[in-house]
């Protein structure tokens, strides 16, 4: 069962044809990795999945993205879509407020007033993001005081608090040191049980370690996609071969 399906998607930033006729199924409760050289359109594709490209001026999108069988580029409530398809950014971007308020933010934005319920969700989300033990004594201190790795797990907790079905991650460990990266990868092993995950990564090793499916992009094209093992061991296209063997990119 595919959670998301990208069908013949073309995206233009003004004149720049950034995504060229992409079709990609994204299976439920699996980790799909998007790999490829810098500038090939990985982040752009990720942002089409929760319509964050809507924020970019002059962007034009053709084709469609089906989420549970519904076209998200039809006339839908984007806020609801984004609650169900959460996102974690490349650089940790906690809001300049307390740890607690960061995690509670999404619920409060939906108008949730029940303090007890919010507290429960905050604790549960921080536990799911493997951050609870580190911050439970200082929930009401500024999130900016956390280390980079902790901030990124906080951003994951913040996304989890909305009880999304999909979590999109754009190179979530590229700004982190190896130990923090390892923690996040461990965490993803837990998250994959509950969520459908799409992750952009520039590290092929990371893709091999954590993903079930891998899609390889090249200059706005989806070159090939397959089970991660297959793609890395028996790439079909010569460009994929070159890339996964480390010849370029």
């Amino acid at each position: 069962m595919n959670k998301l399906e990208v069908n013949n998607l073309n995206l233009f930033y003004g004149e720049n044809h950034a995504l060229k006729d992409i079709s990609l199924p994204i299976p439920a409760k699996q980790v799909t990795a998007l790999i490829g050289p810098s500038g090939c359109g990985k982040s752009t594709l990720l942002r089409t999945l929760n319509r964050m490209n809507d924020l970019v001026e002059g962007v034009k999108i053709e084709g469609d993205v089906m989420f549970e069988g519904e076209n998200i580029y039809a006339d839908i409530d984007v806020k609801q879509l984004r609650m169900r398809v959460g996102m974690v950014f490349q650089k940790p971007n906690p809001f300049p407020m307390s740890i607690y308020d960061n995690v509670a933010f999404g619920l409060k934005a939906q108008g949730e007033k029940d303090k007890e319920l919010i507290s429960e969700v905050v604790e549960e989300s921080l536990r799911s993001a493997a951050l609870w033990d580190e911050v439970k004594e200082r929930l009401h201190t500024p999130a900016m005081g956390l280390s980079g790795g902790q901030q990124q797990r906080l951003c994951i907790a913040r996304a989890i608090a909305m009880k999304p079905e999909v979590i999109l991650m754009d190179e979530p460990t590229s700004a982190l040191d190896p130990i923090a990266t390892h923690k996040i990868e461990e965490l993803m092993d837990e998250l994959r049980k509950k969520f459908t995950i799409v992750i952009v990564t520039h590290s092929m090793n990371q893709a091999k370690r954590i993903s079930d499916k891998t899609a390889f992009f090249w200059m706005g094209e989806l070159v090939e996609h397959a089970d991660t093992d297959t793609l890395f061991q028996h790439p079909v296209d010569s460009r994929t071969q070159g890339y996964v063997s480390g010849e370029f990119g």
Binding site: N50, M52, L55, K79, Q80, L81, R82, M83, G86, M87, F89, K91, N93, P94, F95, P96, M97, F105, G106, K108, A109, Q110, P142, C155, R158, A159, M162
Partner: protein, 302 residues
């Protein structure tokens, strides 16, 4: 090194330091003197205002001067009605002007399409350049008659007229600084909030404005300083009666107006009392700056 030896040059490396680098010294001196101009001005102004103002404090008594309600030189020197007028006109201007200014800043930074922002922004900047005497004209021609008509009173030169003119005068400062500080925020705050399904409006009020708080406070403080120090426009529209205003629809005289209007003919203790009025004005400005420092420091710890 290698090239040097290849070329057969002396390899004794670096030259010894010149005894004194005069260019360096000259510029250090220049920077220092420039920095001192501001400091010395503040000290000189403070010194002279205090020096000239103290006799009146002594003569009238500090408490009588500040809390006294009658201003009848050379007999009575009480400026409480002017303190009240200055405070009320400033607070009123802030209550009206700041919300309008912040909403305008949000509009410019977040909502207006580019072409519209490009019309509104220069208009606001133009507002900042208008001399206060022209604001005074505007108040006399538009606001004062409007107040007479709306409230059916014979003279529209009132505290309310002062409040409205000041509210307009502080707009550009607060708008410009607030807009700049909203724009200076990293776009990842907004993206993060929208990605959680928050609406644009919720994001503005709960992420962007709080994050831009310290810049906005600075804008408000500069606006308050402008309002409390404004003289010309206030003299033209507020009526200037040196008596405690009973309502917003009565004339009032601000601290600044008191100084400007009587300075030309005052002598002796009377003149000194005008400097004392200046001391009180300075005290308010210092309090304001201290309050701003405190707020921003709070934020630093938050």
């Amino acid at each position: 090194m290698e090239t040097a030896s290849k070329m057969g040059q002396v390899t004794t490396s670096l030259t010894p330091a010149k005894k004194i680098d005069w260019i360096e010294r000259l510029f250090h001196g220049l920077f220092f003197i420039s920095a001192m101009v501001g400091v010395i001005s503040v000290i000189t102004i403070g010194w002279f205002v205090f020096y000239e103002g103290l006799p009146a404090f002594k003569e009238a008594g500090l408490l009588n001067f500040i809390f006294g309600r009658e201003w009848l030189p050379p007999a009575l020197y009480g400026i409480s009605s002017m303190i009240v007028a200055s405070l009320i006109s400033t607070v009123g201007a802030v209550l009206i002007g700041v919300p309008i200014a912040i909403m305008t800043a949000v509009f410019l930074a977040e909502i207006a399409p580019k072409w519209m922002a490009n019309i509104v922004r220069p208009a606001v900047e133009l507002l900042a350049g208008i001399p206060s005497v022209v604001y005074g004209f505007f108040g006399l021609i538009v606001i004062v008659p409007a107040i007479e008509a709306v409230f059916d009173i014979p003279a529209g030169n009132t505290l309310l007229a002062g409040i409205i003119v000041l509210a307009i005068m502080i707009l550009p400062t607060v708008i410009t600084i607030s807009e700049t500080s909203i724009r200076a925020l990293t776009p990842t705050y907004k993206a993060g909030a929208l990605a959680l399904g928050a609406s644009h409006i919720y994001t503005i009020f709960n992420v962007l404005l709080p994050a831009a708080k310290s810049g906005i406070y600075t804008g408000i403080a500069l606006g308050i300083a402008r309002a409390i120090g404004e003289t010309m426009a206030i003299i033209m529209v507020m009526g200037n009666a040196p008596a405690m205003p009973g309502s917003l629809l009565e004339p009032a005289r601000s601290l600044t107006a008191n100084i400007a209007m009587e300075m030309a003919y005052a002598t002796g203790i009377h003149a000194s009392s005008l400097y004392s009025t200046g001391i009180v004005l300075l005290a308010f400005i210092i309090l304001l700056n201290a309050g701003l420092l405190y707020l921003n420091r709070q934020r630093g710890h938050a």
